[in-house]
């Protein structure tokens, strides 16, 4: 393998500073309480951590179950090379979600309570149990990379024997909690703006997660190709990009049909300023990617595929922020803008994740697995 410069584009030092700052602020939060580091209030009990770390984090980690499904269930062998990085990113994503929730919830020492006290009416219980279970599934799905490195053959054989059931269970759990994140907001019909409040919100959340999964995998594989200089053709990315417009098309149709059925289509033009947010997520994350990625010429160019995937991701982030923060006015008379320390904790966690991914690429057989697979497919 060709040895290239193995540093991060943003600079490892920046990441280390962010990671350290995040730790310091986390310590302050646990000493002084939530009020000292956040702008959360009785009228705005959920803020940046819920919108970014939980809602956006879980959706962006959808690459794990979509890729595992594509390769192991739908037998699309050409995507085999990206399964392992996708599962690693998803696994780290879920660890990140759990760490952020440990900061966000008031009694993190009771985070395991959903395992012994259950209210089955609550969509959040489903999310809590599923996040725990799916993190375990992802750890098992990723474990072969570690076992290969260590040369442990017995556990490797054991994991390979249950690989398919594991993937099936992973997909079922993901379907459940990706949609339950939408169900959670159905509990606030008085607070969520009618452009987003719809009984089919769980389905919309699931479909948009399925669409963003491949987009994240495209971005990740292209960035890692650039940073680590691995030989990975554009066929995989183009193949993934080809699927995205179909999923987004279904999503757009459902979203418009739902507004029309509920008689709220007019709000798209009249409910200022929320309609700008709505148009923002639809144009950036749905309409532009559908147009771009439907053109074969665009799919053949690195820049085109990258831009298309990036738009899908940005649109999804805006969508989750809209539904869980910007268009969710829990109580009248309260305003909210994230405190810098809230952002610092989340940024610190992301920095930790990037550093770990970087280390994993260096020391675990992730990339070689990719190359092996591409060679096999070629």
């Amino acid at each position: 393998m060709m040895q290239k410069k193995q540093s991060f584009p943003i600079g490892t030092s920046v990441l280390i500073i962010l990671a350290a700052l995040g730790l310091v602020v986390t310590v302050i939060r646990f000493l002084k309480g939530l009020g000292a580091v956040s702008n959360l209030s009785d009228g705005r009990p959920w803020g940046f951590w819920i919108s970014f770390d939980l809602y956006t984090g879980v959706a962006l980690a959808a690459g794990g179950f979509t890729m595992a499904g594509a390769v192991y269930i739908f037998n699309l062998k050409k995507f085999h090379a990206v399964v392992r990085p996708a599962i690693l990113t998803a696994f780290l994503g879920y660890i990140l979600v759990i760490l952020a929730l440990l900061v966000d919830i008031g009694a993190p020492w009771y985070i395991w309570h959903p395992m012994i006290y259950q209210n089955w009416q609550s969509p959040l219980l489903e999310v809590a149990l599923a996040v725990m279970a799916y993190t375990a599934v992802l750890a098992l799905e990723f474990s072969p990379a570690v076992f290969e490195r260590l040369g442990w053959h017995a556990p490797l054989r054991a994991i390979r024997a249950i690989q398919i059931p594991l993937v099936v269970v992973g997909i079922a759990i993901s379907t459940g909690h990706q949609s339950s994140l939408g169900s959670m907001l159905l509990m606030a019909p008085e607070a969520l703006h009618p452009l987003w409040y719809t009984p089919i919100l769980p389905i919309l959340f699931l479909i948009s997660a399925i669409a963003v999964g491949p987009a994240v995998v495209i971005l990740e594989s292209m960035l890692s190709t650039r940073i680590f200089g691995h030989k990975l053709g554009l066929e995989i990315q183009s193949g993934l990009a080809k699927v995205i417009p179909y999923i987004l098309g279904i999503y757009l149709l459902l979203k418009l049909a739902d507004l029309a059925v509920r008689g709220n289509l007019g709000l798209v033009f009249s409910a200022a300023p929320q309609n700008f947010l709505w148009w923002g997520e639809i144009i950036i994350g749905v309409i532009l990617p559908i147009i771009l990625l439907s053109v074969p010429k665009v799919r053949q160019s690195r820049g085109g595929v990258f831009t298309g995937a990036l738009l899908v991701v940005l649109g999804l982030i805006l969508n989750r922020f809209n539904a869980s923060m910007l268009a969710l006015a829990v109580r009248p008379g309260y305003a909210y803008f994230p405190h810098w320390m809230e952002v610092a904790i989340s940024a610190g966690l992301v920095a930790w994740a990037l550093l770990i991914i970087w280390l994993a690429y260096r020391f675990l057989p992730i990339a070689s697995h990719e190359e092996e697979a591409t060679l096999k497919n070629a």
Binding site: D42, H113, L124, I164, A272
Partner: protein, 314 residues
Amino acid sequence: MSKAVLFDGPGCIGCRACEDACKKKYGLPPIDMSGSSTGTLPAEPTTNPRTYTHPAELSAYTWIKVRQTEIDDAKGFRVINTLRKCMHCIHPACVAACPVGALQKNSDGATVYDDKKCIGCRYCMVACPFGVPTYEWDKQIPFIRKCIYCPDLLEKDQPPACVTACSKRTKCITIDDRDKQLAKAYKMIDDDAKDAAANKRDPKYINHVYGEHEVGGTNWIYLSSEPFEMLGLRTFGSQPVPADFSKVSWGGSWGDLRTSVGSEAVPTNAERAMAAVPLALPGVAVAMAGLYWVFKRKDKLGQGNASKKKEVTK
């Protein structure tokens, strides 16, 4: 038998004995008298000391609050008292939302909270249509706080602390069985309307018992002289979304643009979605296993065909 407290709004003089009794029973910081407090606990900080509006809203240290609303219309200027507190819904959204069942609904009507179960997710605060549960943001080990209906007293068939305090003053809050209270509320409205007609005066009450139907009914019910929206109490009509978008303010309430829930209990849509989960999860798993088999077989057949073809070409 489920209880209800009936709040006779026009009978309230705003003495705030209920607030004081509640704070004393639960050891909450007393009403801020700006240095002249006779209490032993430090007062809850407020930006409006020595006024009737401190704190400005319910907080983790004020679970019942007399809110004064100034109204100036054709009938002239007046100040109306109303209560802000937990309404103790018959189908509470907070209880449905809580993942660990820290919030529970008792058969006597109290919606109670268990410190030992709560994980601090604050989903109850998001779900509550009345904007009631509050959080101890300034504490290192915080809990959800709201009126819990004095369950220890209700168990002994005694009135909650606020009702006892009020009974020594105006008796504008009283407790009884919920159906009796509803009957009493309508009798008060009717009697007053008849008396008003005979004496050619304006009636004291509007013909609306707040909490009879709102979000499926509540175990605190209010009477008022003014429409409840004018007092800042959300009413849950069943009308569809109206077209007045001027009321939408950034970061504030959606006003009339809110998705109306009518008298339906809040959790319903989420409940419907959650009911699908036990079916959907195994369903997805079975479908995926089936698809795996189909694609595997297709692949095998494809390989078989390919090798056959190869043989033929050879």
